[in-house]
């Protein structure tokens, strides 16, 4: 360091002030939501003197548990179908040369196109398949729309594993399928976990498929139900924020626990 001590000290303090500033911008809306969900409506104190659970009780008395259950079913099923399909295709793209492979770049472009546009004909489609107004259509759409990005990320992780290990196994008479399950998948496990977490959080947060394919409230996922509350409840901010806190908890907990893998996975997947 050639800079003078007072200069670097000023930069140090300035840096922390900047960090503090951004933290306030990020944390305040979330704090205020949690506060509002726990304070009686009309109490606007920064630290409310009396706390209440009435908003949460009202929420769950109104059948909100059904929506939480739907969200769990939809996001877990989405990951259950997405991951195996994406692993197989990602492995094929990373390890085999076959005619037509060059079109796989489409997988990179698909996530950039608006899902909401294709959703219009998909509604009629789901009606034709007889799964409109069921959770199946929501799971199906969730899987299809998360596949391109997941496959591309897994392809990247598989490419970063040296081929030689698998080749040695193949020469020893191990089949390609066994090589996939006993060598490639365990070695790519950290990447697979980050893909899984990403898919799970996106699926939990998605409201569009639920909103488009289901019309009954007891079939909706949490974010879709929340949108309904925003339209129906007007200024019952306590109740709405209680629903928001329930919607926030799973992705936030998941993210805080796995954030290291999550971030590495996103960066690894986006740089290849």
């Amino acid at each position: 360091m050639t800079t003078s001590p007072s200069m670097s000290r000023a930069r140090f303090i300035f840096g922390w002030l900047g960090i503090l500033f951004v933290i306030v911008i990020i944390v305040f809306p979330v704090y205020w939501g949690v506060r509002t969900s726990l304070a009686p409506n009309g109490n606007l104190g920064f630290f409310p003197a009396e706390l209440t659970s009435e908003h949460y009780e009202g929420l769950f008395a109104g059948g909100f548990f059904r929506n939480v259950q739907n969200s769990l079913i939809v996001s877990l099923s989405t990951i259950f179908f997405t991951l195996p399909i994406a692993v197989l295709a990602g492995y094929a793209l990373a390890r085999f040369d076959f005619p037509g492979k060059r079109y796989s770049a489409v997988l990179l472009v698909l996530p950039l196109l608006p899902a909401i546009a294709v959703l219009v004909p998909l509604i009629l489609y789901m009606r034709g398949l007889g799964i409109y107004n069921t959770l199946y259509s929501v799971i199906l759409a969730g899987t299809v729309f998360s596949l391109p990005y997941c496959t591309w990320m897994i392809r990247g992780f598989m490419l970063s594993i040296p081929r030689e290990i698998e080749e040695a196994a193949l020469i020893d008479g191990c089949g390609a399928f066994r090589a996939l399950f006993t060598i490639a998948i365990p070695l790519a496990a950290p990447g697979l976990i980050s893909v899984a977490i990403f898919t799970l959080i996106s699926a939990w947060n998605n409201y569009l498929f639920s909103f488009a394919f289901t019309t009954k409230r007891d079939l909706q996922v949490v974010p879709a139900a929340l949108l309904g509350f925003i339209q129906a409840w007007g200024t019952n901010y306590g109740g709405m924020n209680a629903a928001a806190v329930v919607a926030i908890l799973p992705p936030l907990t998941f993210f805080l626990i796995f954030q290291k893998w999550f971030v590495q996975g996103i960066l690894a997947g986006s740089s290849k």
């Binding site: 933290i23 809306p29 979330v30 608006p114 546009a117 219009v120 959080i201 939990w204 200024t235 954030q259």
Partner: protein
């Protein structure tokens, strides 16, 4: 992009069908592995996309048979005042979001890629907006900015001595959706830019310091040029997502007041899911896809030009 090893096969001269069959057998495993993915994408993305083009050329009234109308829907759309307002609102939204989130993301990226202690925790906190659902964050912003009970509006009223009704004026609502979207988008950009910053070799900065370059010059001539590509990718991603956004805006303002914040995505959302105007909604869907492709095209051109220069 494609893998490093080229196909080693050289097909022997044989009849066409024989060649096709032996090729298929050689690639059978790869095709089998690809099949579930390709099947789902063709059946549920490609075919609906084709039918989107079909429906865009139909007039669909509920309870009546569809009528083929050619490009009539697009004609109506282009002539329509409301759609022009939709496009204007989209452009204002895009420019506003980028103007706020790009500098903020860059600033945050510089902060989290410094070597100070505790930076890992800071990065985690900075990423929080990104993992929350748009509907949820929209509600958090509504709560903060409610004319009667919002802490921000109350603080502003106390400061300026007059009440603030952000959601009742066009400028206020536009500001609201822009702030919300910028708040949501900056973490992803920050992550991409920070990855670019940390990949710059430290020797470059050492050499610059020896030459007497100050903080600003190091930033201007090393950091900024060498993070151009990640910065561009981040801007592309956020631009595309902002243009397509419907849920954040719809949950905040429902497109109002008037059509002031009715961006293209919200218009599509209303036509498709509230009015069930499938034909017209499909033509808006095609407009939205074209808009996204246009942005990707422009981005590619700018980046390509920079590389040649």
């Amino acid at each position: 992009m494609s893998s490093a090893s080229a196909p080693i096969s050289s097909y022997p001269r044989a009849s066409l069908s024989k060649r096709v069959w032996s090729g298929l057998r050689r690639n059978a495993l790869a095709y089998a592995l690809m099949f579930p993915l390709v099947f789902l994408l063709v059946a549920f993305l490609f075919v609906p996309f084709v039918s989107l083009i079909y429906y865009a050329m139909q007039r669909t009234d509920p309870g009546m048979p569809d009528v083929f109308v050619g490009l009539k829907n697009f004609e109506i759309l282009i002539r329509e005042d409301r759609f022009r307002q939709n496009l204007t609102a989209t452009l204002v939204y895009l420019v506003g979001v980028l103007a706020i989130s790009v500098p903020m993301a860059y600033f945050a990226a510089l902060l989290i890629s410094s070597s100070r202690k505790g930076v890992g925790v800071v990065r985690t906190i900075f990423l929080i907006p990104w993992v929350l659902a748009p509907v949820v964050t929209a509600l958090l912003f509504r709560t903060m900015l409610d004319p009667q009970s919002g802490p921000i509006t109350i603080a502003l009223s106390a400061l300026f001595g007059r009440p603030f009704y952000l959601t009742l004026t066009e400028e206020g609502s536009r500001l609201l959706i822009i702030l919300h979207s910028a708040w949501r988008s900056f973490p992803l950009m920050m992550l991409l830019i920070a990855a670019g910053i940390t990949s710059i070799p430290l020797e470059l900065y050492e050499a610059a310091k020896v030459d007497g370059a100050g903080w600003w010059h190091q930033f201007r001539y090393i950091t900024l040029p060498l993070t151009r590509v990640p910065l561009f990718s981040a801007v592309l991603l956020i631009s595309v997502f902002t243009i397509q956004d419907a849920e954040g805006v719809y949950a905040l303002t429902q497109g109002g007041p008037g059509y002031g914040t009715e961006v293209t995505g919200v218009r599509l959302f209303k036509e498709a899911f509230l009015y069930f105007n499938i034909g017209f909604a499909s033509s808006i869907g095609i407009a939205l896809i074209s808009l996204s492709i246009l942005v990707m095209f422009i981005y590619n051109r700018i980046l390509g030009q920079g590389e040649r220069a």
